[in-house]
């Protein structure tokens, strides 16, 4: 039936056109969106920050390559996803992080965050946060962005709020927080640069508006409720939005494709849960910045949220015994 074979034609299933987007392109543009923040981190924290970012990225790529070799898979580091995870992890670290901490965390992000779940797309949790959580719990003193950066003149708003109360942060100008003049994860606190990157991703449609919007709304709303209850104890919503890694979480961590839900209602709920949890952890938790843990917790809700589905076209249908005789006859006899 396939003769004559010259010229040999390509046969494939529809569709025969494609939007032209690739995984590599997506990763490349996401890395591009992270660049302003990476540059700002270099400007503010100097070579220390560059060292952490370079090491983290290198370790991530090497771990991915080793894991591919171990699992006898094709080498997939050229899709840039390991580089992306490595950079996101570095953004969460203090610029003072020692080399072994960066190495362990970055390797854990790739291995425990991604590879053991089957690789790219299989991770139930945002992979850089897995590495971060491991380091934060195992070596809290080295992960403390305030205690390890005593030489710096920058304020550490969330730590000061936690330890000394609202008065300690009253003098901090939101505009300077916005420009990244604070201590925290070396890239996570570059609010203005991250916002620029986030808008770029939104414009290029690599992320949709639901998660960042719902995350921000949840965060502002919860902070506002606390503020209304007692303005003398709780910080303003704007302070919570600009301090720490809120913007970073909203645009870059919570929007991780594999670990976030898909439909409109699920993504809105997901963002809201994460946003609310940020403030709840900041108010009651032992950790100053609640963003990473809030997103990890919201990730756990993803399979549940993904069950909120619209009715499928034509209603749910299961092929039953008496109907399928007809169906198959139609298919085979024409």
């Amino acid at each position: 039936m396939i003769r004559p074979m010259n010229p040999l034609l390509t046969v494939s299933m529809a569709p025969h056109v494609h939007c032209g987007r690739t995984i590599k392109g997506y990763m490349r543009e996401t890395l591009l969106a992270l660049m302003p923040a990476a540059i700002m981190a270099g400007v503010i924290f100097g070579m220390d920050a560059v060292r952490v970012m370079a090491l983290s990225c290198a370790v991530a790529v090497v771990t991915e390559a080793l894991a591919n070799r171990l699992m006898k898979r094709d080498l997939a580091v050229d899709d840039l996803s390991a580089l992306h995870t490595g950079l996101l992890f570095a953004f969460l670290l203090p610029a003072s992080a020692p080399w072994w901490l960066v190495t362990v965390g970055s390797a854990a992000s790739i291995f425990m965050g991604k590879v053991i779940f089957g690789g790219l797309g299989g991770n139930p949790l945002c992979s850089p946060l897995v590495g971060w959580a491991l380091c934060r719990i195992s070596w809290p003193e080295f992960m403390d962005t305030n205690a390890t950066m005593l030489a710096s003149n920058l304020p550490a708003p969330l730590q000061q709020l936690k330890s000394f109360g609202l008065d300690a942060v009253a003098f901090i100008d939101p505009a300077s927080l916005f420009m990244g003049h604070q201590l925290g994860g070396l890239g996570a606190i570059q609010v203005a640069a991250l916002l620029a990157g986030g808008v770029f991703l939104l414009v290029r449609r690599h992320i949709s508006w639901e998660i960042p919007a719902a995350f921000t709304a949840g965060l502002l709303l919860t902070a506002w409720i606390y503020r209304t209850i007692d303005p003398a104890t709780y910080a303003t919503p704007l302070f919570h939005l600009l301090a720490g890694g809120s913007i970073f979480g909203a645009f870059f961590l919570a929007t991780d494709p594999a670990s976030s839900p898909v439909g409109r209602i699920p993504t809105l709920l997901f963002g809201l849960i994460a946003g609310v949890m940020v403030i709840v952890i900041r108010v009651y938790g032992i950790y100053p910045d609640g963003v990473p843990f809030a997103i990890l917790l919201a990730n756990l809700f993803t399979p549940l949220l993904d069950r909120i589905r619209p009715k499928p076209f034509g209603g749910p249908y299961t092929l039953t015994q008496e109907k399928e005789d007809d169906a198959i006859c139609k298919k085979c006899c024409g």
């Binding site: 025969h16 494609h18 995984i23 898909v262 139609k330 024409g334």
Partner: protein, 403 residues
């Protein structure tokens, strides 16, 4: 191919051109039972095969010649001339005898049951297919005759003409014109039915009391009524031009006529780029359902990969059937076909949009069709004695093969 547009606007197209006569026809007969054998002489209009199942009319030779080869998929006819069979007079009465007469002359009449609502789909099925435009403009008489004939069988109380907003569509007598947004996939039957009746039906089904047919169906019926000769042609858009092409015309001939060429590794797609089926070789003949012809160069278009699903949800966001193509493809990938059903694989209207948007370039529609097919096999395999093979399955429905 990033400049692909989903717009269904056809703009002004040229007149309908009659296709050039090829020297050889290869008529697809996979849904038919051949009644003539290799070596038989045929005239233009001689019946060569009978429909095996509902949903098809009988097949006739579009040209005079000699049958050279018959296999289970196609029949090759060497064309020698244009001599025709005598034309028949359409029966004056309506109902059963008219329907039988049309079936005999190649029209699919199984859908013309009595119904209150008759929908004429004038929305282009896919971007780049403008076959309805010249028909609606230049063949009004034929279409009216076709509609009149269909009305005699369906006896509808309401007739709707559904067109894409911005495309030409003048109403027929007693007919309401409805407009839908001119974007793919709004021209697919399921979505047109939904636009008119507000009801969603699974692919392959039409709601009770509703009959849907396309403008080219009307045209072909009108032509059969006008000429009293069998329908042996199909209307196709090739390179922006609309042609009346004889069934069985080899695709290679059509490409050459349009001034194109095919290199090894190219795809010759019958139909539109979103849903079309590629030809196996240049000798494959066009079928009755072919609406267009595209050549996709090697390296262009979707080159599917076995990348893992990224979970980005682009497919789901664009899916008109509100299902999760990504999840279904994961199920199908690992042979969890029954699980694919829990993700509502049967709701898929096979528009191909998921595959268009997939960043991982996964063949999502292929996975979905695989899941549907495997589920159908799974549910029919009642006893292990029955081989669930394609060839054997035709034995299971003798009542269909008899007619």
């Amino acid at each position: 191919m990033t400049n692909y547009s989903f717009s269904l606007l056809t703009g002004d197209t040229g007149p309908l051109v009659k296709g050039t006569r090829p020297d050889c026809l290869r008529i697809p007969i996979h849904a038919h039972k051949p009644i003539l054998a290799s070596g038989d002489q045929v005239l233009s209009g001689t019946k060569i095969a009978e429909a095996k199942a509902d949903g098809h009319g009988d097949l006739h030779s579009p040209l005079a010649g000699t049958i050279r080869e018959v296999d289970s998929f196609s029949m090759r006819i060497e064309v020698t001339g244009n001599t025709r069979t005598d034309s028949e007079t359409p029966p004056g009465d309506s109902g059963e005898s008219l329907s039988r007469w049309l079936h005999n002359l190649g029209i699919n009449v199984s859908r013309f049951r009595r119904a209150q609502t008759l929908i004429i789909n004038a929305v282009p099925p896919e971007p780049g297919i403008s076959i309805y435009e010249p028909l609606l403009r230049d063949y009004r008489k034929t279409l009216e005759l076709g509609l009149d004939t269909v009305e005699r069988m369906v006896e509808p109380t309401k007739i709707f003409l559904v067109a894409a907003k911005g495309n030409r569509a003048n109403a027929f007598a007693n007919c309401t014109v409805m407009h839908v947004a001119p974007t793919y996939p709004n021209g697919l039957d399921q979505l047109v039915i939904k636009a008119v009746t507000g009801r969603e039906t699974l692919p392959g089904a039409t709601p009770e009391n509703t009959v849907l047919l396309s403008v080219s169906d009307l045209y072909l019926i009108g032509r059969v009524m006008e000429t009293g000769r069998p329908a042996t042609e199909t209307v196709m858009t090739i390179d922006g031009q609309n042609l009346l092409v004889r069934i069985g015309t080899p695709v290679g001939f059509l490409v050459a006529e349009a001034g194109g060429s095919v290199q090894p590794g190219d795809r010759v797609v019958l139909g539109g780029l979103m849903r079309g089926i590629p030809a196996l070789n240049l000798e494959q003949g066009v079928g009755r359902d072919s609406t267009g012809l595209h050549v996709v160069r090697k390296g262009e278009g979707l080159e599917s990969t076995d990348n893992f699903c990224l979970g980005c949800g682009e497919c789901e966001r664009h899916c008109p059937a509100r299902i999760m193509p990504g999840m279904i493809s994961r199920c199908a990938e690992f042979k969890h076909f029954a699980r694919a059903e829990t993700f509502h694989v049967h709701s898929c209207i096979e528009c191909g949009i998921c595959g268009y948007w997939c960043k991982a370039q996964r063949p999502l529609l292929q996975y979905i069709r695989l899941a549907k097919f495997e589920i159908a096999l799974l549910r029919t395999a009642t006893s292990p004695a029955k081989e669930p093979e394609k060839e054997k399955d035709s034995d299971k429905c003798p009542e269909k093969t008899d007619d």
